[in-house]
Amino acid sequence: MTRPKRPGDASSGEFLAEAEMLLEEAGCGIDALDAEGDDPRPEKVNALFRTVHSLKGVAGMVGYSGIADAAHALEALLDDLRMGRVPPSPAVRGGVRDGLDALSTLVARVAAGEESPRLETPLKDRLEGLVRPAEPREAASLRLPPELDASLSDYERHRASEAGKRGKALVLVDLDLDFDSFDAGLRNAMNEASAAGELIGTFPGTAADPARMAFRLLVALPPGSDVAALATRCSARDVVGVSAGTAAPEPATEPVRLPATVVAEPAPPEPGPEAAPQVARGVVRVPLEKVAALVDLAGELALARSALGRTLGQALAGAPDRGARFEAQRAFARLDRLVATLGPAALALRLVPVETLTTRLARAFARTAAALGREADFVVQGVETEIDKVLADELGDPLLHILRNALDHGIESPEERAAAGKPRRGRVALTVAPRGREVVLTFSDDGRGVDAAGIVAKARQTGLLGPSDPDPAEPFALLFRAGFSTAREVSEISGRGVGLDVVREKLTALGGRVSVRSVPGSGTTFEVVVPMTLVLLESLVVRVGDVWFALPGENVRRTLQAAEGAIEVIDGRPCFRDGDEALPLARLDALFDLPRRPDAGGAEPVVVTEDGRRAAALVVDAVEGVWDLLVKPLADSVPRPREIAGAAEVPGGEIALALDAGALVARVHSASASGRRA
C-alpha cells in the first residue's frame, strides 16, 4: 500500500488483512510483556511499539482516521512505557490490552462495512488516567566522550541511564575494521555485544586510516561480565568503561578503563536470556533454534554411524570369534535403526498442523468478502496436515493474496451469479494434503474463471509476448509474469492478474511453486506446492575429484561398492546389474567433463538413482555422507549443465552442487542410448 485509498474500494480488503495480522502480532506482543513482568526486556516493548506504529500508518494511509487516532493514543502510551515515563505495571499493561481491544473492535466494524468507524470516547481519554507522571526522571549523567554524548537519542539515553540504575556497567566497544569485511566484522561485534548484554547503540567512529572503518558500540553489561573476553570476541581495538547514574566522581572527559571483570553493586537477579519454555496442556514450546540444533546433531550422529559401520565391517572381517562378530553386527544394526529414526523424529518437531494457518486465512476471507460485497463460503479440508512452523508463518501473505484474488476477481457479485444461473453464494475450497515430502494446497473457486485466449491476447498487447512468439503451451503461466500484473485492466478480460508475480516469487523463495488452471464460467484453481520441511532436504553427498554433489535422498535407491564384474557391457553400453535390472551407467566425471581421475583400481562407489520412473547408476569417487541440506536454487543466468539445480553448504564448509535427479537420469539414459562410453 503506497498511496492513499478511499475506504470501501478493493483496498479495504488489503487493509483488513494487514490490520488483522498486525493486531494478532500485537496480541502476542502484550502476552509476551505480561510474561516479562516488572522488568520487560526492551526489545519486547519496542516490538509492540513498532507493531502499533505500523497499524497507525496503515490505517492513516487508507484513510481510516478513527483507527489511526486510536492507534496513535496507544502508541503514545507504549512510547511512555519504553522511555520509562510510565512503569510496566499491571495497570499499564491492562491499558495496552484495552487499547488493543478497542482497535480490534474498530477493525471489525470496517469489516462489517462501516465507512470510517471512530470510538465514541477517544482512546486517549480512556488511557489518560494511566499516564500518571512517573517519579521525576533523574537526568542521566553519562560520562561519555562529548561527540558521542551529542549523538545519543532520547531512547538510547534512557536505556543507558536505566542500565546504570540497575547496576549494570556501560562500556564503549571501539571497533576498527577492514573496509573489505567491515560489515561482517560489525555484525559479529553487534551479535557478541547483544549476547553479552544489551546493545544500546551503534555509532560511527573515526578511523585513523582511510582504508579502515571505525564504529563504537555502547553496551550495558551485567555485573561480573568478562570485558576482556568481550573485547576478544568482538575483535575490538579497545573496550572502555563509561559510568552512568547520578554520581560522577571523576571528570567527564577521561573515560575510566575497566578492570577485566566488571565489578558492580549487587543487582536484582536478571531473567535469563531465554524465557523458560511455557508448558500448557502437555505442550512444550521450544525455540526453533534448539530444534535446529537437535536436527543438526542427528545429522552428525548419522555420519558417525556410517563411519563406524565402515570400520566395524573391516575390523570384524578378521575376527575369528563368530559369536562375537554376530553380536557386534546385531548391536550395530540396532544402533543403525535408532539413528535412522532419530533424524526424521527431530525434523518432525518443526511441524505444526496447517490449521494454525488456515484459521488465519478463514478470518481474513470473511472480512475481505464482506468488504467487497461478495457472498462466499471458505471451505477447508485437511487442516490436520503438518507443515514446517516457519512455512506456516511465511505462507500467510502469499496465500492471502490468492484468496483476495479469488474474491476480488473470481467470485462474481450475487446478482451476476444469479443471472448466470449459479447459486448466489460463491465458494472457495481449500484442500491441504501431503504428497511425498511436499504439501499441496489447492484453492478452487466457482467464480467466473479465466479465459486463456484473453490472457495470450493481453500478453501480446502489453509486449510480454513478441509478435513472432508462438502461443505458449501454458498460457496461465503468463499470469505470474511480472509485466503481466501491472496491466490493471486485464481483470476486465481475464478476471486475474494483479500481483500474482509477487505470490510466485515468495513461494519460490520458500522452495515452493504455484500453478493455475481455469475453466471460463465455472472457476479457477490455484495449486500451491511447498516442501513439508522448509528447504531442508535429506541428501546424499558424493564427491568426484574436488567437486561435491548432492542428490535428494528420496532419489537414491542404494549406494554400494561395485565389485569387479558388476559392470557389464550390453549392446556396447555400460550397464550396472541391480538385481534383475540392467541399468545404464555413467561416470559422473565423464558426464560433467571433469578431469578423469586415475583409476584407483578395485571397487568404486556406485549410486543407483531413480526419478520415480526410471533408474540409472552413477560411478563416483567417494560417498561423503547423508545430511539434511538447505538447498539454494541457482539463477538461470548462471551457465551450467541443466542437471545442476542449485547449491548447498555441507557441514564442514564444502559446497555441494545439488543435482536434479530427473534431468540426471534422463541424461544417463540418453548418453547411454547414443552409444557414448561413459
Partner: protein, 137 residues
C-alpha cells in the same frame, strides 16, 4: 561516457577495475567457491553468500587475463540486479570518477564502459550487465 559517479575500485589479475558503487551490494569473503562443471572459463563457480547461491565471475579471466588461482576465503563483490558476484584480488576503495576523464574502451577488451588513464596504467570501468550476459553466451 558516464556521469561523474562513485565507483568501487578493485584489483584483479594485477590490473585495476571499477564498477559503479550503486551496483554493489556488498563485499564478502565466502568460505569457498565451488567449481561449476561445464561453465565457461570466466565463471569461477558458485559461492554461498548469506545463504544465497551466486554465480561467481572471475574478473581476471573475463578480461582476458590469466584465471585467478583458487584460494581460501576468496574476496567477491556482490552485485545488485544480477545473481552474480565478481571474484577480485583486493579492493582499493571507493573513488570518484569525473565523466570527462573517461575514455572509450579500446576495441576487443570485453565488457568495458570505458577506461581512465592513471599515473601507472589504467582503471577499467566494467560494464556489469554485459559482463554477466557474456557469461551466459
Amino acid at each position: 561516457m558516464s556521469d561523474d559517479g562513485l565507483l568501487l575500485a578493485f584489483r584483479a589479475g594485477g590490473e585495476r577495475f571499477a564498477v559503479p558503487l550503486e551496483r554493489v551490494r556488498e563485499a564478502a569473503r565466502p568460505r569457498r567457491i565451488a567449481p561449476l562443471p561445464g561453465a565457461p572459463p570466466e565463471w569461477s563457480g558458485v559461492a554461498l553468500v548469506r545463504g544465497e547461491a551466486l554465480g561467481v565471475i572471475d574478473v581476471a579471466a573475463a578480461m582476458g587475463l590469466p584465471r585467478s588461482p583458487a584460494k581460501p576465503a576468496p574476496l567477491v563483490v556482490v552485485l545488485y540486479g544480477t545473481d552474480h558476484a565478481l571474484l577480485v584480488d583486493s579492493i582499493d576503495g571507493v573513488e570518484t570518477c569525473p565523466a570527462d576523464r573517461v575514455a572509450p574502451p579500446p576495441p576487443g577488451r570485453g565488457a568495458l564502459r570505458g577506461i581512465v588513464a592513471e599515473e601507472s596504467g589504467f582503471l577499467s570501468l566494467l560494464d556489469v550487465d554485459r559482463l554477466a550476459a557474456k557469461g551466459e553466451g
